[in-house]
């Protein structure tokens, strides 16, 4: 028998053993004990390996602590690569830049399934947790002040996308799983916004060019603190302007502060992450990979996996009313696969060929499917296309809007023109096929000038419509800005049996797992946000 704590027992038995041994010693000599020794030694050898047990449980292929630099790179990549399918099947289709005949994957085209809107929530266990770990790590070291500042700014970027999509979300108590806290409360969106402003401001001020940075681990700026400061103020500008419907005073305060701080106005300061078309899947642009693998598989095959095409609304807008008002980005974004007499297809960017598919028109493969345009594989879907996080184009449009609101002293028309120029110029980052000549930009502006004489709403519509085109590959921001301004005007589809009653969704729904796993906090948040967790409930700043 084995006893759990045998030390005491052993003494007595041991004594017994010895006395018996003494008595029987003589007789014992006839018996061979060698095998017993062998057995004992074996048994002991077995146990000697106990100390090796701890050694066995060290994974030779995994690192056991956080390296702030390497994890920061991951947090950057993971945030911008989050849920490409949600971005497309929800936002890109809701905002009528893409259409599909499929019913299954069409939350945005036909307002059906809610599936793909849940996935952004997983940011919590991905990029958001990663950036929090970087914040925690860099906080420990006073010399890491720039790293901490960059991490705080990037955390705001991740959080603002989440709260804009989902409204009230866990924030102040979130990300404490390592401390055994599994059920964080939901913060009011207004509080989250206030904290984000504070974070941006503090981080921007803290940046110090003389201190160490993330260097090469920073995909966006290589550690350049001046550019990080510009990014921080650009974010502040974006977030400030977000509040125009709900709290104009707060909006004005932060917009003015951001402009004073100095946002990105030069193309060279644009925030982007680089990708490569190499032998590694993870180095490819996540949206391109997603579009090609999951949908526009092969231009030689007329059957797209998810039945998508560029939307009629988007193509028609880009085409304009005439050839003169045409947006030159049409020929950068859109192609038509033209069947060749010799067999096979060729991607053609000719304006006359481009045709968009009407949203929610089809529930099966249309006979004329081949006649609709698709995203250009040589620009939009390049594997080495960058992901543009925030560029000068958006800032100029924000400045134009600040200007028409009277929050910025600059000329709205100038800002508008600068915005259009920057928005068109940034396509040159998408390879040779993306380059738009200055002539074309000038021509476009000539025939599509800023409506200086127009009403506020006309100006807002014009600026917002430009942002809609600019946001083609930045769909979360696109969705937020459209909800805020209501422009461009989109005619909702009303497909039989849709789940929104023919209205464009206003919010993402929080995954049901929260109702199970964080029930009380979830229900409290749900109750105070119109008591609903549906695609039609609205976030705080999206006041009706």
């Amino acid at each position: 028998m084995i006893l759990p704590k045998p030390a005491g027992v052993r003494i007595s038995n041991h004594d017994r053993l010895i006395s018996i041994k003494n008595q029987k010693n003589k007789q014992m000599k006839n018996l061979s004990f060698k095998p017993i020794y062998t057995a004992l030694i074996l048994a002991i050898s077995l146990s000697s390996c106990t100390k090796d047990l701890a050694e066995l449980n060290k994974n030779p292929n995994a690192y056991e602590s956080v390296n702030a630099n390497f994890l920061f790179t991951k947090a950057q990549l993971a945030a911008i690569g989050l849920n490409p399918s949600g971005n497309r099947f929800s936002n890109m289709q809701m905002l009528q830049q893409e259409a599909t005949y499929s019913e299954v994957t069409a939350p945005g085209d036909k307002y059906f399934a809610e599936g793909s809107v849940r996935a952004n929530w997983s940011a919590y266990s991905g990029c958001l947790n990663q950036i929090q770990l970087v914040v925690n790590e860099t906080k420990k070291d006073p010399a890491s002040i720039n790293k901490l500042a960059a991490a705080r700014i990037w955390k705001v970027y991740i959080v603002h996308q989440l709260t804009d999509l989902y409204g009230d979300i866990p924030y102040s108590e979130a990300l404490n799983g390592l401390d055994g806290k599994y059920q964080p409360k939901y913060d009011l969106q207004v509080d989250i916004y206030k904290d984000m402003f504070k974070e941006l401001e503090e981080a921007a001020v803290a940046l110090d060019a003389s201190k160490p940075t993330f260097g090469n681990s920073d995909l966006f700026y290589g550690g350049n603190t001046v550019k990080w400061k510009k990014f921080a103020y650009s974010m502040m500008l974006r977030l400030g302007m977000r509040l125009t419907k709900i709290d104009a005073v707060m909006a004005k305060t932060w917009v003015e502060k951001a402009i004073a701080g100095g946002p990105i106005i030069d193309d060279a300061d644009l925030t982007r992450a680089p990708y490569a078309d190499g032998g590694l899947l993870s180095n490819r642009n996540p949206f391109s990979e997603h579009m090609r693998v999951l949908d526009y598989v092969d231009g030689q095959n007329p059957l797209n996996v998810q039945g998508s095409k560029i939307s009629m609304r988007f193509i028609d807008h880009l085409k304009g009313n005439s050839t003169t008002t045409k947006d030159p980005r049409l020929n950068v974004i859109s192609v038509l696969w033209v069947k060749q007499p010799a067999g096979g297809y060729i991607a053609d960017t000719a304006t006359a060929l481009q045709k968009g598919m009407q949203n929610a028109k089809f529930n099966g493969y249309p006979a004329d499917f081949e006649t609709y345009s698709e995203p250009n594989p040589n620009t939009v879907m390049r594997y080495d296309a960058p992901v543009i996080v925030l560029g000068a184009g958006e800032v100029h449009f924000l400045l134009a809007e600040a200007s028409i609101r009277g929050w910025f002293s600059g000329n709205a028309a100038t800002s508008y023109d600068n915005g259009v120029k920057a928005a068109m110029k940034q396509w040159s980052l998408y390879g040779a096929g993306g380059a738009i000549s200055t002539d074309k930009v000038t021509t476009y502006l000539k025939y599509n000038p800023f409506l200086t004489a127009g009403t506020f709403n006309q100006k807002l519509e014009q600026i917002s419509t430009q942002r809609w085109v600019l946001g083609y590959l930045d769909q979360i921001e696109n969705f937020s800005n459209w909800r805020r301004t209501g422009y461009p005007v989109l005619i909702p589809t009303n497909y039989p049996g849709n789940i929104t009653g023919g209205r464009i969704p206003r919010r993402y729904i929080v995954p049901e797992s929260e109702e199970t796993l964080n029930r009380e906090n979830f229900l409290a948040a749900k109750a105070r946000q119109s008591g609903d967790n549906t695609l039609l409930s609205r976030v705080w700043w999206d006041k009706e």
Partner: protein, 1162 residues
């Protein structure tokens, strides 16, 4: 006396065992070893082991009086007296017929401390008798030479006997035709008898031809044979079906009398697996053993099996039992691997699938209790002990040949609608584009037999092509051919051997898919001298899978098309699946749902397993009642796999490639000390102590890539996109254990065990657990006089604990891995969304068990009843947590899970005559699983709360208001989703099996029924059949539209009529809104699991061929589903062996198999 002296200055590093000088010298050596080898942390183990071993030595020293030496002097002493002295001094028993002894002469000997064998040789020297020693029994036989040598002194006596008596000769064998030595033969009503020799032959003189011979042999039914006018009797003994004399293999390979056991154990003989055979022998348990729930995968030949004993014991750990082969644990790693993309699963078999059924002697299932407790943590879910066949001492070479051939076809065909044909919106396709668009939609116009355009632009009639036709058109009959040849023999105990070779070739129903297994098995046993027994078993096998069928979802499967093709399209028109440029021809618009002919003709997968299992042991019988056995085993498994999609695959036009290699070893070393002793004649004492170490290493590399550069060169080197990952996983366990068994007068038995385990997967401080067990059994029928109807009654009870650490290596530490290749020259670190837990403790599984074994009516009817209550505490679970914590799961010692149940086994022989016998065996079990407790802060685990059964299937359904009226969404017109509700359990709580065995002359018929009840099955396939309009449930509304009525969310009456052209939209989305409502079914079923009709050929007429026996059988596996609520699929359509049971999806059809089996013995 101070036992432990800490060495000054080196804190806690060394402990010295201080032993008095008398024996210290002998122990010094290992003292030294202790100080050298043992860290302070492990000193406890050493202390315990030392203690156990010393204890054994004490017993051993006391036992010194019993040896194999004999001291005896005497002149003309009756031989019986010498026997009894020898028995006293050595413990050897004698076995003889009294009348034989009466022939013996008195002996004169003078032996001082001489070897027993020398003494025996001396006393038998001039006797008409001879002896043989078997284990510890000395068998006294009539000297064979006497009968054959008339010159002998005793001829006269023999002649005298022959003058008045009839001499009857014969041979006794068992049912399989193997001869039985040592069978006792008596003439009824007298004390005259004989014993069979090594070849099972006997000679006996009977007074007249009215004599009746009574044959008795341990483990066999006593048989009476009338001599009549025969002088040659070849008799077969029938194995006893009672618990009275049965000897079973229990923990660590120890054989024990079944009646002494305090727990339920079920033994299944190897031959039950060889006729109506399963390639994966674990699947053959189905229905045979109460409380054992077997789920064979619906994944073609060579697939895996899920075996669950008495319910799932752990919420997230491995719930499958431990497989032990010849006393040592084997690796049962499943090789299911999700293929590159999608959720498709290729089932590439598991560890147990490597075992050839022909090599199995017996399988014992230890469902719980003290026996399992000795195997430690991995035995918390029960143990399946496999004993492989070994050679037997016999004359000449024994050859056994087994050949088995079966043909399989689908087990059932779904019952679908064939009223409305291909199309959508109630319209049949008018263009090729529309035909492709609705390739898998049967929402078209009413079938009218008129031509319409199909996916390839060809006009074909709008008339039914049912799934049955398409299955028959696409699949082929599966075949399974197994040939095994085994040689065994050994002229004496000095060396016995068995060598077997087996070849299995299986063709799956899916064209091009095959599985092959070659097995070589060598078993050697040698008794060296008198005290050393060396045994070794080596098995090497090669398994090859080719184009294993994909399961689960659409990608990479043929079954998506065979099941879901629109109901007016003949699948053969999809062939060959590719065009002149080798591009896939799509039959519908979603490339994931592939052309099945493209899958079989252009895509591919291969895998191969090279498995070597070697084990060896040396047993040294130190004393007659003390032995030490050292054994080791290494189980080596190398697995290579590859799968690819070529250029031209619709969903991956440039192709995809996956390959991997893994090398898994499991090494076990064990030392066991066994001690047996009888005290005061009435007390039997058995003690065992041992230690075990186990080490597991899994190395793997996986190469993944896409985009072939050159077509049709399928190689990792031919890819534009490449990545490779390397894995190394190591874990181990050290254990010390011991047991003691005490028996009183074969009436009352007690068993105690204890085991301490140290786990590598937990952190020091929390990585060890001690657990004891206790059991008792009481033979009521021997203690008191029971009514004569009861032939045997035994009561048993046990309490056993098993500790476990169901954690994967490295799981307890938070890891931050580096991502392969980084990002364009920058290192990238990753995180895990799973929260680890360095403070994790071992879990404990505690089982109370009680039961009765009873035999009635002279053993014609038997009852074995067991109640058990198994509770798992501190269960280790990776439980989902709110992702807002930063992690999606946390690894916790959460709560408590219980499984309570009863098991009943009824055995009977309703008819028993010389010519006809009917044996029946019925087993039934009920298991109630309950989640008892969860960690603070957790209200559910996997959505299931406290008080509910584990593996409860939950999901939303359609909301109804208080009066039961359905609530509709006013905006959409669809049903509103309800909160999550319980649909039922995924694991059937009720299981049963009914085996009938009929024997008539040389024929026998064996029929096994298997049933499971009380569970639900969720079918992904059915959901798609619904969504795509194949299900009969989608017929309402097709003619005139469908009006739904109920209330809206505000409670106001709601009504909406869905027009005919929107029925497809309605049904499709209705199934999407509440996937479970349309696809969860009551999973009850009763199946005819197997049927075997055998005929024993009259080989005795073919003496010249030297055939001992030959049996030919017609066999069938899973021939009929006798009862099921499900009309769309086989209720057993599982495709994963994970804990998430109750899910079925898109799989190739399950098969029913018919065939023949031939066994010939030479």
């Amino acid at each position: 006396m101070n036992l432990f002296t800490k060495t000054e200055g080196s804190l806690g590093r060394v402990a010295t065992l201080d032993i008095k000088p008398t024996i210290a010298g002998r122990f010094r050596f290992f003292n030294y070893r202790i100080s050298q080898l043992i860290s302070f942390n492990s000193i406890l183990l050493v202390m315990k082991l030392t203690f156990i071993l010393l204890l054994v030595i004490i017993l051993n020293v006391r036992a010194e009086g019993y040896s194999q030496k004999v001291t005896y002097s005497g002149v003309n002493v009756p031989i019986e007296k010498v026997f009894s002295t020898i028995k006293k001094q050595t413990g050897y028993g004698f076995f003889f017929q009294k009348e034989l002894i009466s022939l013996a002469k008195p002996v004169t000997i003078n032996a001082v401390n001489e070897d027993i064998s020398d003494v025996l040789v001396a006393i038998f020297k001039d006797q008409p008798l001879e002896f043989s020693i078997k284990n510890k029994t000395i068998l006294v036989l009539k000297r064979a030479a006497i009968v054959m040598t008339p010159q002998s002194n005793l001829v006269g006596i023999e002649n005298l006997l022959e003058e008045k008596d009839i001499v009857v000769k014969g041979q006794i064998s068992d049912a399989k035709g193997e001869t039985l030595p040592g069978v006792s033969i008596k003439i009824k009503g007298t004390t005259v008898g004989a014993t069979t020799d090594v070849d099972g032959r006997f000679t006996i003189s009977v007074p007249d031809n009215n004599s009746i011979l009574v044959l008795t042999y341990i483990g066999y039914q006593t048989q009476e044979v009338a001599v009549g006018d025969r002088t040659t009797l070849n008799i077969k003994l029938v194995a006893a079906n009672t618990a009275l004399t049965e000897v079973v293999v229990t923990a660590l390979g120890i054989s024990r009398e079944k009646k002494a056991l305090a727990y339920s154990v079920t033994e299944v003989k190897g031959e039950e697996f060889t006729q109506a055979r399963e390639n994966n022998v674990a699947n053959a348990f189905a229905g045979k053993i109460a409380g054992v729930n077997v789920t064979g995968m619906s994944s073609g030949p060579g697939g895996s099996s899920r075996v669950i004993i008495r319910g799932n014991g752990s919420l997230s750990g491995n719930n499958q039992p431990l497989y032990v082969i010849n006393g040592l644990p084997m690796n049962n790693t499943a090789r299911s691997q999700a293929q590159g993309e999608g959720a498709t699963i290729l089932d590439r078999g598991d560890g147990i699938s490597a075992i050839n059924p022909d090599d199995i002697e017996t399988i014992n299932v230890l469902k719980g209790g003290p026996a399992a407790a000795l195997y430690g943590s991995q035995a918390a879910n029960g143990v399946i002990l496999i004993t492989t066949k070994s050679g037997k001492a016999q004359k000449g070479l024994g050859v056994e040949f087994n050949s088995n051939f079966t043909v399989g076809s689908p087990s059932m065909y779904p019952d679908l609608q064939y009223v409305y044909g291909q199309g959508l919106d109630g319209v049949k396709p008018l263009t090729k584009a529309q035909a492709i668009s609705s390739g898998r939609l049967s929402f078209g116009a009413k079938m009218d037999g008129q031509p319409y355009v199909q996916f390839d632009g060809v006009m074909r009639p709008n008339s039914p092509v049912n799934v049955k036709d398409n299955w028959k058109n696409f699949y082929r009959p599966s075949t399974n051919l197994t040939n095994t040849i085994a040689f065994s023999g050994g002229n004496s105990a000095a060396l016995t051997y068995r060598v077997s070779l087996s070849d299995l070739e299986a063709q799956a129903m899916e064209p091009g898919s095959s599985y092959a297994r070659q097995t070589g098995n060598v078993s050697l046993r040698s008794v060296l001298g008198k005290r050393i027994i060396v045994e070794t078993t080596l098995q090497y096998n090669v398994e090859k899978g080719k184009n294993r069928p994909g399961n689960g979802y659409a990608d990479n499967t043929t079954s998506w098309a065979t099941n879901l093709l629109a109901n007016t399209v003949d699948i053969r028109n999809l062939a060959p699946g590719y065009d002149s440029n080798f591009n896939e021809v799509q039959w519908q618009q979603v490339p994931e749902a592939q052309n099945p002919y493209f899958v079989i003709n252009r895509m591919g997968n291969t895998d191969s397993k090279n498995r070597f299992m070697g084990q060896a042991s040396v047993q040294y019988n130190i004393l007659d009642d003390l032995s030490v056995k050292v054994s080791g085993m290494r189980d080596i498994d190398r697995f290579d796999s590859m799968d690819y999609m070529p250029i031209g695959t619709a969903k991956r036009p440039r192709g995809l490639f996956n390959s991997g290699t893994s090398f898994v070893t499991k090494t076990t070393a064990q030392v066991l000390l066994n001690y047996n002793k009888t005290f005061f004649n009435d007390f039997q004492f058995t003690a065992m102590a041992g230690g075990n170490i186990e080490r597991n290493v899994a190395e793997s590399t996986r190469n993944f890539g896409a985009e072939f550069i050159v077509p049709d060169f399928i190689s990792f080197s031919n890819l534009a996109l490449q990545s490779a990952t390397v894995g190394l996983s190591r874990f181990g366990q050290n254990s010390a254990f011991g047991s003691a068994d005490i028996g009183y007068k074969s009436l009352l038995y007690f068993t105690f065990t204890g085991r301490q385990d140290w786990f590598s997967t937990l952190n020091p401080g929390n990585n060890s657990i001690f657990y004891p067990s206790f059991g008792t059994s009481f033979i009521l029928s021997d203690a008191i006089k029971l009514p004569s109807i009861i032939s045997f009654a035994k009561i048993r009870a046990s309490w056993a604990q098993v500790g476990g650490a169901t954690v994967s290596p490295y799981q307890i530490n938070q890891l931050y891995s580096f991502e392969q290749g980084g990002h364009i020259g920058r290192p990238v670190q990753g995180t895990s969304s799973a929260l680890s837990n360095p403070n994790l403790r071992p879990l404990t599984s505690t089982t109370y068990e009680g039961g009765v074994d009873m035999q009635f009516l002279n053993n014609r009817l038997g009852l074995d009843f067991t109640y058990y209550n198994r509770k798992t505490t501190d269960d280790i679970l990776s439980t989902p947590i709110a992702v807002t914590s930063g992690y999606s799961s946390a690894l916790l010692n959460v709560g408590e899970l219980s499984n309570k149940g009863v098991e009943i086994l009824l055995t009977g022989t309703p008819i028993k005559s010389n010519k006809f016998t009917w044996d029946v065996s019925y087993n039934a079990a009920y298991n109630k699983s309950t989640i008892e407790k969860l960690a603070p802060g957790l209200s559910t685990v996997g959505g299931v709360g406290v008080g509910r059964p584990y593996n409860t299937l939950r999901g939303r359904t359609y909301l109804t208001n208080a009066s039961g009226v359905r609530v509709y969404n006013k905006l959409s017109g669809y049903e509103v989703q309800s909160p999550e509700v319980e649909y039922g359990q995924g694991v059937p709580p009720y299981t049963m099996g009914l085996a009938n065995n009929f024997r008539y002359k040389s024929f026998s018929l064996n029929v096994l029924l298997d049933g499971k009840f009380g569970n639900v099955v969720q079918s992904g396939l059915s959901r798609y059949m619904y969504r795509f309009g194949l299900s009969k449930n989608t017929l309402p509304g097709r003619e005139n539209g469908l009006t739904v009525t109920g209330v809206d969310q505000t409670g106001a009456p709601f009504t909406k009529t869905w027009p005919v052209d929107q029925m497809d939209t309605y049904y499709n989305n209705q199934a999407s809104i509440s996937p479970l409502t349309t696809s969860v079914f009551d999973g009850d079923f009763i199946k005819l699991r197997s049927a075997v009709l055998s005929y024993r050929l009259p080989v005795s007429k073919l003496q010249s061929l030297k055939i001992q026996s030959a049996d030919i059988s017609l066999v069938s596996r899973n021939p009929f589903i006798l009862f099921s609520h499900i009309t769309d699929f086989d209720p057993e359509s599982a495709y994963t062996i994970g804990n998430n049971q109750g899910q079925s999806s898109n799989t190739i059809p399950r098969t029913r198999e018919f065939g023949v089996n031939l066994i010939v013995r030479f």
